[in-house]
Structure formats: C-alpha cells, structure tokens
Symmetry: C2
Subunit: 518 residues, 2 copies
Amino acid sequence: MTMNGAECLLKTLIANGVRVCFMNPGTSEMQFVSALDRVAGMRGVLCLFEGVCAGAADGYSRMTGTPAATLLHLGPGLANGLANFHNARKARSGVVNIVGDHATHHSSYDAPLTADVEAFARTVSGWVQTVSSAAEMGVATAAAVAAARLPPGQVATLIVPADFSWNPAGATGDVRQRQARSVVDCDRLTEAARILRAGQQAGLLLSGSALTDRGLAAAARIEASTGARVFANRYAARLPSGGGRFAPKRVPYFPEQAEAMLAGLEHIVLVETQPPVSFFGYPQRRSTMAPEECRFHVLANIEEDGEAAVEALAELCGTAAAPAREEPRKHPALPRGAELTADTLGAAVAALLPDDAIVSDEMVSCGEVVSAHLRSAARHDHLPVTGGSIGQGLPVALGAAIACPGRKVVALEADGSGMYTLQALWTMARERLDVMTVIFANRRYRILDIEMERTGAGAVGPRANEMLDIGRPDLDWVKLAEAQGVEARRAATADEFIAAFEDGMRQTGPRLIEAVLK
Amino acid sequence: MTMNGAECLLKTLIANGVRVCFMNPGTSEMQFVSALDRVAGMRGVLCLFEGVCAGAADGYSRMTGTPAATLLHLGPGLANGLANFHNARKARSGVVNIVGDHATHHSSYDAPLTADVEAFARTVSGWVQTVSSAAEMGVATAAAVAAARLPPGQVATLIVPADFSWNPAGATGDVRQRQARSVVDCDRLTEAARILRAGQQAGLLLSGSALTDRGLAAAARIEASTGARVFANRYAARLPSGGGRFAPKRVPYFPEQAEAMLAGLEHIVLVETQPPVSFFGYPQRRSTMAPEECRFHVLANIEEDGEAAVEALAELCGTAAAPAREEPRKHPALPRGAELTADTLGAAVAALLPDDAIVSDEMVSCGEVVSAHLRSAARHDHLPVTGGSIGQGLPVALGAAIACPGRKVVALEADGSGMYTLQALWTMARERLDVMTVIFANRRYRILDIEMERTGAGAVGPRANEMLDIGRPDLDWVKLAEAQGVEARRAATADEFIAAFEDGMRQTGPRLIEAVLK
C-alpha cells in the first residue's frame, strides 16, 4: 500500500530522530493524527493551547540538544505559539514546527481560517518552507529537521497543505549529513589567550554550548590561572549549576547592577554571545552595560563550538597545572519559623532541591534573590528566561520533564507570567510528569513598579495601579491546579512552604504550591 | 507644562472617541499607564493575557460600531493577541491596536524582547505604522483611529517606541473627516431588483452592516414580495435574532448541508459578502457551496452601505404594500426532567433568555442544535465565530459586556475553545460584568471526530483518540471559574441546568455553569 503524505512526514521525522510531538491539531492535521496509529515511534503530547506546545518544544530542546516537533493548526494556531517560539528562538532551540494549512484547492477562497501562514512563521523561524507536493513531503520534512538542527539550533517551520497529507507520497527523506558546530580558528584562540594573560582587567563571557560541565570546568581553570573574571549570559538557554560546580557570575537584569559587576573591565572575550546589553532602554541611559572603553574579542560565534574553544583556551592559558576551582558546597539552612518571602523561599528550595533536578525559572521580580540561594543548592540545570516573553516557565518545565524522565523538574513561576500558559498544568497531569510548580503569588506585576519609576513615568497613581495589580480578585492557584488534575497546596509561611516542598520532593508526579509571599 | 508622547496619544484617542483600552502593558508602555492618572476619559481594562484584550476589542466593536484600543507589549505581547485579531479582522471590527516597542536608541542591540513588531502586526492588520517621533504622536494616533474606522472596519496597529512616549510631544491629532460607507450605485440596485423579480430561483445573501433590524426588515419585505430566499453569512460579526424578528437562513458549516440549503438557486445577490465557501477543503469536494451553475451579483461590497442598499432594494422590488413577514414568537418549553444534551440545553437557554441579551457563540460542535432553538428565543444579538480561531467566545463576551452595560451577556462556549482564553473570566470578575458563561463540557474536541472522517483519515485509533480527548483528566470548570473570582455551578441534568441558568438570569454579575453533556 502506498503511504500518504502524513505517513511519510511522520516516518521521516522518526527516522531522523524526532520522537516527540507537542500538538494541538485541527481539521487540516487529522491525517497526521490518524497516522500516529499506523506509524510507530512518535510520542504525541496534547497541549490545550499552542503556546504550551511551543514552550514545551523549547524546554525539550534545551535539555536534549535535539529538536522536538510541534503540530499546529493553520495561521491562527501558529499565532498562538509565536510568543514562546520567540523565546525558543532566543534560546537557539531547535524545533521542527509543522503547521497544517488549507488544501491547495481551497486556499484561494478566503475561508474563515485563511491567513498568510508564511508571514506568521517568518516572525520567529530561521527557516520556513511550504511543502510543494505530496511527492516532496519526505524531502521537505528532512530539510526541516536539518534546518532545526543547524547550529546553534532554530525554529524550522514546515507548512503542510492538507491535501498533501492525504495524497499519495513519495519516499521518506533523509538528513544526509548532520551539520556539526564549526571549530574555532587558531588565530582567535591565540588572541584570546594573549588578552587573558596580559595582566589587564579581562573578562570571559560565556553562553550557548559553552555552558556545560566541561565548558565551566575549563572556564574555572582559566579564571584560576589568569585572574580573568568569568561571566554567564543571563539569557542563555541552560546553565549547569549548584553541587559545587564553578559558578560564573550571571550578568544582572538591571543595568546599574550589571555595570557594577562589569566595572573596570578593559577586555571581554565573547563565547557564543554578543556584548551584554540592557533588557530595556531607559531615558538618559546607554544600552550597553560594559565600560565604554571596554574592547570585545569574539572567541566563538553562536554557531561555533564554544565548549571546545573554552577547553582549548584553558590549555593555551597554561592551566594544566592550575587546580580547578570549586565552589564549596554549603548545605543551606532551612528558614524555619520565618515569614514566607522570596528570600526564605529561595533558601528552602536551595536546601531541599534533590540532586540532578531541573529548574525552570520564570520568577521575574523574585529572580535575583532566589537565584543567589540556588548557587549553593545541589547540582541542577537552570533554565532561565531567554526571550522575555512571559508564559515560558511552565511549558519549558513540561518539555524538560518529557525530555528527562527520572529527573525532578521544579518550575519557579511568577503568578502574572504563570497565567499566560497555565494550560501546561493539564498536560503535566495527563502525562504524569514529575514537575513541582511553585507559584510566587505576590498578586502583582511587581517588576512594573520598578520599571514605572525607571522609565521616568513617576509614582504609580490609583488608575495606573489598577493595571499593575492582579490581586483584585486574587487568583486561587490551588483551584487552578486542581481544576486541571494537579494536586496543590497553599503556603503562607516558610514552615508551610518547607512542608509542602519536602513532600513534593519525596514523591513523583505533578504538584503545585501557591506560595503567598509577604 | 509640555505633554509627553504618552499623554498626547491618550488625549488623541479620547478626543476622537476611543474611550476603552483593553491592555496588558509592560515596561515600554509604562508612560501610557502612568498617563491614565493625568488624562481623564479612558477606561483601562486589564486582561491577564493579550488574546483576551484582542477578543474583547472585537466584541466591543461588534456591539458599538466604534473601535476600542488595545495596549500590548512589544512583538511577543502582540503575538499573543494575533489569533483573536485574526477573528476581529474577519469580523471587520475596528480596533486601535497600540503596541509599545523598545526605545529607538535601544532597538539595534538585539535585547531579549527585540523582534520585528511590524512583521507580527502585518499578519492581521489592515493598517500598520510605527510612530516616527514624539512630535508626530498626535498625527499618527489620529491616523490610526481613522484607519480603524475606515469602512468596514479593520485592525489598525500603531507601534510606539518607548522614547516617543516619554519625550515631549507635539499637538494632539484630529480625525478630520469620518469616512462613511459609500452608497451603492443605481445600476447594481436595478440589476439586483430585476433578478429577484424575474421569477427565477434567486437568493439574497446578507452580511456585515446589512444585518441590522432595518436591514432584516427590508429583507423580509423582499422575500415576501419576490419569493427570493434570504440567507445570512454564518460568519458575520453580529446577527440580530429572536423576538419574532425575521430570521434569514444561516448557511451551515458542513458543505453537504449548505449545498442542500442552497440547492436550486440560479442567482445569488451578495450584500457585503463573497459567495459561500466551505470552512475547510476536503478530498474530492469543491470549495464553493452554491450550485455550480449559480450566478452571483454583487449588490454591495464590504465597504459599502449594505443596510441602505437592502432598504432601497426593497423599495425597488415594489414591496411598499407587502406585509413584513414576522416569525411567530413561540415561547419555548423548558425541557424539565430531561437529560442534559445540546438539544435540551439549547431549549432551556432559548426559553430563559431575557429580552435584549447578547449571545457570544463559540459552541463549535453543539452550535447547529442550540442555534436552532435560539431562533425562538427573546430578541437578542448573536455574535458568532468569524475567523475560526478558537478562544474567541469569552473575550468577545467580555468586550460586549463593557460595550453594553445593562444588557445580559450569555457566552455559550465549548470546553476545548474556552481553555484558550480562560483568563477572560478574571477580567469579568474584576469589572463585575454581567456575563453568564455556559461551558459545554463534552470533554472532547468533538468536531474533530467528524472532521477525521471527512478528511479521509478514517476511524479514530487509540493514539489518535488521545489527541481528541480532553477528558483525561477532566477539566473542572467550576474551580477554574472560582479561582478567578467567578461564581460557578455544575449542571449534569436539564433540571440542574435550568435552575442554575434561571438564577443567573435573575441576578447580575459574572457567573459560570459547567454543563456536563450526555
């Protein structure tokens, strides 16, 4: 029997290593859904909103280094995924984003769902292609997988008219050659080593694939032997942390703090990152955060092998004999009897986090305080905000949990941001994922209190206040979670939080704590 | 004191009749938020997700014929609104969509939130402009309002770099001339009248501004005098219904049913609509639904005055003496003692709907059955699906309630679609809006069972079934509502539903019923 286009698509994905598909299909994607029963090897994960699909694929890619697929319904279904695809793009996550479209014979009729799917796709995708025939399905799908994997990784959108799914297909496609990260050339290595050893004030700023155990160990040796300060891009996709690992300094969100951290630097060597810039622009402030006279030196571009470059750099810096510096592991104390604040919550999480956990971080205004505690926690992978589009944290946690069964995932989530993609909780329940969600319930878009002042807009008046206050009425996160099948508790003191979090760490499965902050 | 750009923007909106702004602001929009306390006359309505803002603006425009504003945060904030802006576009709703962007001095630095805002905007907007300086803020804002109001109405997106909000502005802007709908020319009227009176099988298909009390009354006279059959575009923004009003036939969703309704027609006169086409394309089916030999005659284009055209047509058809046909008002019976099905639910709503209610309809698979009952309900405005992007119903109800205080709004909402923009419930609670939400809880993307078959994908296998089933775990809509401050009840029998719905109709304020369907 001839296979149809949808079967060919699915087989090509599977044959090329794409084994999970986060989806919210509609009529145009029914052939793909139907093919799940005839083609073995794809895990279909239903999400109740496309923003969850997109963020989950991002989280999956960050943890595995390989792309997941998403399956979305026409232009509007894709539209709902764009904000988290924006975050995935900034995380340089590979995603094979499959979007069904109207059958070609139907596309000229301006039916209700007709829209320019490619235009939606181009806003966030590094690669966009509309399949041109059922016969080409295999080739086009393989091209999409190859594009998603192209270093450093990108969203590759393949648009599939419905008739090409139900028509007889040609052969499946093959990704012939997997493009590897390119090797950093010798001149740049030599130059970077020269700068770091020259005795001037120098920094090494890491991002992307350099932020691995090996990359960090090499960076620690460089710091020990040259005195250069090592920094991490705050918005990197993934940062191995805790457990006594070497901890590069994360460049802060606010420019004044970042400038203080970077003060005095004459040179910064860049690994898979641009120079540090402010998150927002403000009146009478420049956007760059390093000293104005600081010079930048690119060691590795974003598509190059930053990890190998940092290791080679460590060799060149003559660190063979230098002892790797390890941060001492202090077992953090539990803040018993305390009020529940970002500070005590952070201390409790740091004390109780099990080994090898994954932390999805969308804490927004509580981030600095909690992250400082997490440096002394057990070893974990930290998945921070990358693109700043809120609603990232829960979907990324979901995707990480699918990617890494057996590892505890902790989602540290602001209440305002959490409301954007709260449907992720349902999929966590359905798939019985081992995710502990902590909602930082401060009942406010708290960060905007600060930003209001910073942008020169002055004090918050009563009408402005209404636009920052999400506490009238209060959101009940226990009910929001239970409504979607996730067991939940509320904690209003540090002791209540400790008890609930300890419980959650002892058991597996999805749970949520609404942490009502003082 | 000089006003800044944000104050100028706000004053220009208000001076030109834009008095409500649905918003989810961020740092780049703080000046606008701050200005709400200094410039009187704008109602700011906070929504916890941008899809809610966009849909609410759509609902507001459908009920008032004038645009509301939306205020969104950079490319990703806009991205979250696109799906409901797609629906607004198909509804031809006017919306002044204000999107903050990075300060111009910051835009070249590729900060995390940097994206091509215009590219996002163009996918759904009829008009897009980035403000070029603070001095031009008034002129640009007035141009956006004029564009949003241009018949038949469109999404006009004004992108505002943050520095132009805090810098000193020029004068406020004025919409000098409000563009009216153009008048239909005599030749087309004469031709339409000739066709309808020629004794052939003829139809009159209405949409847009022709679907008013006056337009419908004129259509009823035309039907009575000429025998022409009168139809309504199923996806029109608003249909006055019930209360004995003349009820045009709504062209069904499925092409077989639509073809049966349109069978035999030799001519169709089009008023603000294209010929009827199928929602989706299917294998071996054509996309058009009128008979192949049917000829189409445009009476009014979408930007023309369809209401006046239909009234003029009624005169030309010589209907002065013809009695207007009125549908008899049958008071529907309450289905006491019955199981709760789409049919009994529809009968109960039709029996209990108060006069002058507004019905936001996103019932999806239950739509045909319930709508049939609603024809015999008290007079109401029916706001159907327009663009097919799910997640429309609750936000449109919210916007309609803001637009029409004193009128009961009933949102008839599928469970799968409702999950897309459930955050609308919170704003209904905060604003104490008189909205009764009925969730049709069938625990399934039911429509896809049918579409699976129709697209030739065959029977639903167990793995495919997982992608259509949203009942593992069941969503608890009572908790989802209560969590957001909306009083809620569950109904599992017709009697329980009747009691809950009657209660809701007697009181004002937001309420929700989870109708668990058999």
